[in-house]
């Protein structure tokens, strides 16, 4: 079993060598296999660490969004666009998530975890799928249940904003970005107080 915990594999091996009674060995092997299966979800859920600049995303959220980043924004195939690491997409996203209100933040966390672990029947988290499998999975979600589709579109929206908000991406789109300073537009300041006599309107 490729997903077996190395420590349990070693224990099984030792028991097989030491045991004098075959049925006990068999029983223990069965037992440890069961333990492997039972503890698998816990190990799947265990933190594997996220970059230090991530302050708001949980490990599961980070992994999900990072896989989405690779699949959703394959910028390496477009020479005019900066990469999704040159544009700090995950950092931008983390900052945006940190500013959500508590209700939205809770729903985002719940939704992200649901998607990240919804592929466990394939014995893999979403973030552990290869990019081709991940793309297929996203397409399936997008054309699946309404809530699932809505959820993945919402997550993509956040990720898309985290990338396309960066001015370095605008040149490829010929989008001008801010122009007031560039064009030297004068500020008008506050508008003069109204003079009802001048307005000549009677109410």
């Amino acid at each position: 079993m490729s997903q077996q915990d190395p420590a349990l594999v070693q224990l099984e091996s030792q028991l097989a060598t030491l045991s004098r009674r075959r049925f006990l060995t068999t029983g223990l092997i069965l037992g440890t296999t069961a333990a492997t299966a039972l503890t698998y979800p816990a190990r799947v859920f265990a933190d594997t660490g996220v970059p230090t600049y991530i302050r708001h995303l949980s490990e599961a959220e980070y992994r999900l969004f990072d896989k989405l980043r690779q699949v959703f924004l394959p910028t390496e195939r477009f020479s005019a666009l900066p990469s999704t690491t040159e544009v700090p997409v995950m950092e931008n996203l983390d900052n945006m998530v940190g500013r959500l209100n508590s209700d939205t933040r809770f729903l985002l966390g719940l939704g992200a975890k649901t998607l990240e672990f919804s592929t466990l029947y394939k014995m893999k988290r979403f973030s552990s799928l290869n990019n081709k499998q991940a793309l297929q999975q996203i397409r399936a979600w997008q054309s699946g249940l309404a809530l699932q589709s809505g959820l993945i579109v919402s997550l993509k929206t956040l990720l898309g904003i985290a990338y396309w908000r960066d001015p370095r991406t605008w040149q490829a789109l010929e989008y001008d970005g801010p122009v007031t300073t560039k064009w030297g537009i004068r500020r008008l300041g506050n508008m003069p107080v109204p003079r009802d006599q001048e307005e000549n309107i009677k109410i």
Binding site: L173, L188, N190, M191
Partner: protein, 530 residues
């Protein structure tokens, strides 16, 4: 009224950063106004200019226009409610509203159009609000139009995004009009939705708020009003907290004793405030009748670049279907920054997604507004402190069908104008490449379960949740702006509108606020003992 000196630029605002100790702050005034958007700023100015002492409390932060960046993502984080993620309970409709000094007027598209006469007449006749009859409210419209520099777009203010749509309308024989906008000497930057850094948009931040302050009003930002204080059925003030917007820490508690309280926090937050304050709700109408007037954007991709974001954001609208016998679907031009596509239309993935974004300069955008029927409900859930808002709204089957009709019309306009492809704003990724397949493609969009996640919707015009009317069994507020159940408590924002205004409500709210200020000064002078 003699105004004191008006600052040339910016306004004096007390903010969380100005509070030096955590002692409770207790203030006294004739009038306390909750909210500094159009409804709050106009009424604050009118009352201050008539000699009343006025305090304005704004939950959002003060971002002077000199700090506006013309970056939509920055604006969402700094100027919009819940960083632009306020949604209905299900999460399929984004409810945008400003959350800053000046409120939504700061981030509006500058569209300033009167409600049609047939709407005003129905408010006067069916809802018993004689003051809103066209011959009476028009004088207020005229006044605010003059003060806010409202004018019909001149040809140079109609950009190529709009021109493409105009071509389509004219090919189909459909009526269109240039937008009316509240802007002075527009610089045509196209960044209206992110705030105008050169102060050409006549937002409340550069008009009624500085005027109110010049007339003696005081403005507090970062100040969240938790509850309206009442005594024996009479509003006597408000209490709340001043909160540091950078870390959400409570800096101080604040209480304002006032003879009149005006709730002007908008159609989402005013009913929430009244519910938190335990305002009696005998007829169960408080928070109900909410219209979101949802919109989404249909994109037409043209064979030559359009650069649809260049020039004034709001160029024109299609008024073919807005007359009394029409279905009142409003369509108008407007394309903003690339991030707008993320929130409203984009559904592709990977290489397809990037190719779609690379088409940005070829797009014209038509925003389709669907007139909903007031079945929404906004309510406060949980305790006053620690509870949260719930915006209950889902598209009905009839509204869904009407929306599809709007999408088909938008597609027809684009194809008539020469578009080679039309992208439709649904949660399924659909696009049409010719007018012949358009209807079938739109009809393939499934209503599904309660319309959930069928269309990608954004609301800019929430209204009607504390509706005004002469029948106290059906309305929250009387025809003069006062809450039926609490004397001395007035409402001055879009929550008052008895039914959907069909057009953007900003100008109507401004006129209505003037009207209510006059009602306070003429009918309710007795509330002022000073």
């Amino acid at each position: 009224m003699i105004y004191r000196e008006l600052p040339a630029d910016g306004i004096p605002v007390t903010q969380a950063s100005d509070i030096r100790n955590s002692d409770d702050i207790i203030l006294n005034a004739d009038v306390v106004v909750i909210g500094s958007g159009t409804g709050g700023a106009v009424i604050a100015h009118e009352l201050a200019a008539s000699g009343k002492s006025v305090i304005i409390l704004e939950a959002g932060r003060y971002v002077p226009s000199s700090q506006f960046t013309e970056d939509m993502a920055w604006a969402l984080e700094n100027l919009y409610q819940d960083v632009g993620t306020q949604t209905n309970t299900v999460g399929d409709t984004v409810v945008l509203q400003g959350r800053c000094v000046g409120g939504s007027s700061v981030v509006s598209s500058t569209i300033a159009v009167r409600a049609p006469d047939y709407v005003l007449e129905s408010w006067a006749k069916e809802h018993g609000i004689e003051g809103l009859a066209p011959n009476k409210i028009n004088r207020y419209y005229e006044k605010v139009e003059k003060r806010l520099h409202v004018h019909i777009n001149e040809p140079h203010e109609i950009n190529d995004c709009a021109n493409a749509i105009i071509r389509g309308c004219e090919a189909l024989g459909w009526s269109w009009r240039p937008q009316s906008r509240n802007v002075k000497q527009c610089a045509l930057t196209g960044h209206c939705l992110a705030g105008c850094p050169s102060d050409r948009k006549a937002s409340m931040q550069v008009t009624y708020l500085p005027w109110a302050i010049a007339a003696g009003a005081k403005l507090y930002a970062d100040t969240y009003v938790e509850t309206i204080l009442m005594k024996n059925g009479r509003a006597v003030g408000v209490s709340g907290q001043i909160i540091d917007p950078n870390n959400q820490a409570v800096v101080a508690n604040i209480k304002v004793n006032a003879q009149i309280v005006v709730a002007a926090a908008g159609a989402i937050h005013t009913p929430l405030l009244l519910q938190r304050s335990k305002v009696p709700n005998k007829n169960d109408q408080l928070g109900r009748n909410l219209c979101l007037h949802p919109t989404s954007v249909v994109l037409g991709k043209f064979p030559v670049p359009v650069y649809g974001w260049r020039g004034a954001f709001a160029g024109m609208h299609v008024d073919e279907f807005l007359n009394e016998s029409g279905d009142k679907t409003l369509m108008e031009s407007g394309l903003a920054a690339p991030v707008q596509l993320m929130a409203q239309n984009e559904l592709s993935l990977g290489v397809d997604h990037i190719r779609f974004m690379e088409e940005f300069k070829y797009f014209s955008a038509l925003n389709v507004f669907m007139p909903d029927t007031g079945h929404g409900f906004v309510h406060w859930s949980g305790p006053m402190r620690g509870g949260s808002k719930r915006i209950e709204w889902n598209m009905t089957k009839d509204e869904f069908e009407l929306y599809k009709k709007g999408l088909k019309r938008a597609g027809r306009i684009f194809f008539a104008a020469g578009a080679e492809r039309v992208y439709l704003p649904t949660y399924q990724r659909i696009q049409a490449t010719s007018v012949y397949e358009l209807d079938d493609i739109v009809d393939s969009v499934d209503y599904g379960a309660l319309g959930l996640y069928s269309m990608r919707l954004v609301s800019l015009n929430a209204q009607g949740s504390c509706r005004m009317g002469a029948d106290r069994k059906k309305a929250v507020v009387d025809p003069y702006g006062q809450v039926y159940e609490v004397s001395g408590l007035f409402v001055s924002d879009a929550s008052l509108l008895p039914s959907i205004a069909i057009q953007h409500p900003m100008l109507t709210v401004a006129a209505l606020s003037h009207y209510i200020a006059d009602q306070i000064l003429t009918r309710h002078q007795g509330y002022f003992w000073s």
